[in-house]
């Protein structure tokens, strides 16, 4: 400041500091999350803590900006699950995803995405269900619980979480997993952080198609039926043709290499014993 005169200097425009969280290992990809919103990053620490990793292999960076929108009505906490109808549009090197409250731009080549939405975990939960299949170069994602030796597939309400709770410590996750085969026709399932999950993988001895029943029953299904039923349980990377072909390879190989059963099971913890006795023995 000069003596006798007043010079008004505007404060420098400061961009909010970017903070980082991660890496977290989800299947084949290590994610780093960036945001100026420390509260949001704190939610991720809680949500994905067990998937924290030291690996920086196949890193993908996601940048989050919180909007001023409130979290949708009915959500009990910012960490609660919430799904919204979505639109997806192809973009150069990636795609754009929009829901009522969230928008995200994904650049697969730069391995970066920007995500905007309310300060909650669900915008990321929703985006990851598009991102993970697109980033999966060697496997395919199933709407399935992963338990020791098996994956258990079925639409919401079929019993994935119920069966996972019966499996106890043998359960890896109860909603989504990545399945990958090798040249010898052996397949492994790796857990993903949905909804109750811990990191891990298991060699697949069987695939189960779940439904509730009054008593436990098991039926081996044909390759043909397995293909039809499992094709609706895959998170297809619909925006990327090469990834679609890889997914077709995986599902074709899986149904020809790993036995697929329909498991009707009663709401009773003995369901896991039944699986151990009749499927894993």
């Amino acid at each position: 400041m000069r003596h006798g005169s007043l010079v008004l200097t505007p404060p420098p425009l400061r961009k909010a500091a970017r903070l980082r969280s991660g890496p977290y290992r989800f299947g084949e990809t290590s994610f780093i999350f960036e945001s100026s919103d420390n509260t949001w990053l704190g939610y991720l620490d809680k949500r994905y803590d067990t998937f924290r990793s030291t690996s920086s292999q196949n890193t993908f960076t996601l940048d989050f900006e919180s909007t001023t929108d409130r979290i949708p009505e009915g959500m009990t906490s910012p960490l609660a699950t919430h799904v919204e109808a979505h639109e997806i549009e192809p973009r150069r090197n990636g795609f754009l995803v929009r829901t009522a409250t969230v928008s995200a731009t994904v650049d697969l080549e730069a391995r970066r995405a920007t995500l905007q939405g309310p300060r909650a975990a669900y915008p990321l939960d929703n985006l990851l269900r598009y991102l993970l299949p697109a980033l999966s170069e060697q496997g395919v994602l199933f709407h399935s619980a992963a338990l020791e030796g098996v994956i258990a597939c079925g639409p919401s309400g079929a019993g994935k979480s119920t069966l996972a709770s019966f499996a106890g410590k043998r359960a890896l996750c109860d909603e989504l997993c990545a399945v990958r085969g090798n040249a010898e026709g052996h397949y492994r399932a790796t857990s993903l952080p949905y909804w109750q999950a811990r990191p891990g993988s298991t060699k697949l001895q069987a695939v189960l198609l779940l439904r509730h029943a009054t008593r436990h029953r098991l039926r081996r299904v044909s390759t043909s039926e397995a293909l039809r039923r499992l094709s609706t349980e895959i998170l297809w990377p619909v925006e990327i043709s090469s990834a679609m072909e890889r997914a077709l390879d995986q599902i074709s190989g899986l149904v020809q290499s790993v036995p697929v059963f329909e498991l009707a099971f009663a709401n009773d913890p003995s369901a896991w014993d039944f699986i151990e006795e009749h499927v894993l023995s």
Partner: protein
């Protein structure tokens, strides 16, 4: 008129069936063994009669040409094949595709199953967050 597989279709043999994915419409199709046999004979150089002539099917019924034409029409409607001028197939295409008919006698080729593929499978998100099933997802 020659027939060729559309370039936006991926396909694999699975057991005795053939699975196709239309990469633009994101639909999956399954062909019966007879349909798969004829699918693999498509080479951009042959039409219905030439393809049938090249097979060694015992007792080919008189309806075979119509049955195969009907099959091609269904595949063309689904944009899985294209019709056009004849072109030279590569040697490798012919060698790879001209396998023996897999059945004892002619069976009409058919597209036996199809489904729209989705990113979210049959999860809650397919239901636009409206389904009561989605409300049972655990909170943290």
């Amino acid at each position: 008129m020659a027939l060729r597989r559309a370039s936006h279709v991926a396909w694999r043999r699975v057991g005795d069936e053939t699975v196709l994915i239309h990469l633009k419409t994101k639909r999956i199709y399954v062909l019966n063994p007879s349909g798969g046999f004829f699918w693999h004979r498509l080479d951009g150089a042959r039409g219905t009669n030439e393809i049938l002539d090249s097979t060694a099917i015992a007792e080919l019924p008189s309806s075979a040409v119509n049955e195969l034409d009907l099959f091609w029409e269904k595949l063309a409607d689904a944009e899985l094949i294209e019709k056009g001028e004849k072109s030279e197939p590569s040697d490798s295409t012919v060698a790879r595709n001209d396998s023996d008919y897999p059945l004892a006698s002619f069976v009409p080729p058919e597209l036996v199953w199809q489904e729209q593929l989705r990113n979210f499978g049959q999860s809650c998100a397919n239901m636009s967050g409206e389904s009561p099933l989605c409300d049972t997802a655990p909170s943290f």
